[in-house]
Amino acid sequence: MSRNAKLKRGVGITALVMIAITFWLGLYVTPPAEVMGNLVRMLYIHPPMAWIAYLAYGITTAASLLYLWKRTRRREWDLIAAASAEAGVFFTGLTILTGSIWGRPAWGVWWTWDALLTSTAVLFLLYLGYLALRQVPMSETKRGVRSAIAALVAFIDVPIVHESVYWWKTLHQTPSVLNPSMNVEVHGSMAWALLLGFVAFTMAYVWMVWTRYETSKRQAELADLEVEQAIRERLAVEEVRL
């Protein structure tokens, strides 16, 4: 197995092991919180999901920029952007799901138009739009350029969405029961579990993007080779005729 493949496998196994340990810490080793009780255990999975959602978007945008800039334009950047966006959709969806699951017992509702949930929902929609755009059949360069611009437009939007939604929920509004803070005192084993959670899921994300990228790259090579083969077969037919 090539060195690259070995490295990737290493990342994957590390991710798996770390996630397992995080789960073990999160579910058994760490103590329940004072007010929230066992519900605090969501702390070890929900924030990491959110962190990766944003990381993925950052990577997609960075790769898109590299693709857009003529001097560094390579098919690889476009494929990385797409792979990262795909993983990003998963993590964003999970952020919303785990957030909702955490919110139901804490706030009594499955959904509320709170600042963070709403911002994440918009982020999810932005990702979906990007992926929908990529699905439409078009030439490789066209797809690369157009998706890259869409990613850029969306990325710049993210902080604006955050600000506006945050103001929406805090300006001229008295804090209500429906906006309890999720502030938890984190110490000792909880801090370790949380930290490990972040690292573990980041590794998982890296493995996923790497794998997805490799598959896309091979698919592109396959397409190229298939075209070559078709040409070769056509030429062979021509030769026989001659």
Partner: protein
């Protein structure tokens, strides 16, 4: 254990695990197809060289 916590952890495991498995399977499929195509491309080149 809180049923919501169980639900949350299960959801994360199933979705990420499922995605990882799908990714891995797909990756293997494409890798094998590529290897096959490359091999047949090499074979096709050889007779031309003899001629």
């Amino acid at each position: 254990m809180n049923p919501y916590v169980e639900a949350g952890y299960t959801a994360v495991t199933c979705s990420l695990g499922g995605y990882a498995i799908v990714l891995g399977v797909r990756s293997r499929q494409v890798r094998l197809r590529l290897a096959k195509l490359r091999a047949s491309a090499q074979q096709a080149d050889r007779p031309l060289e003899d001629a």
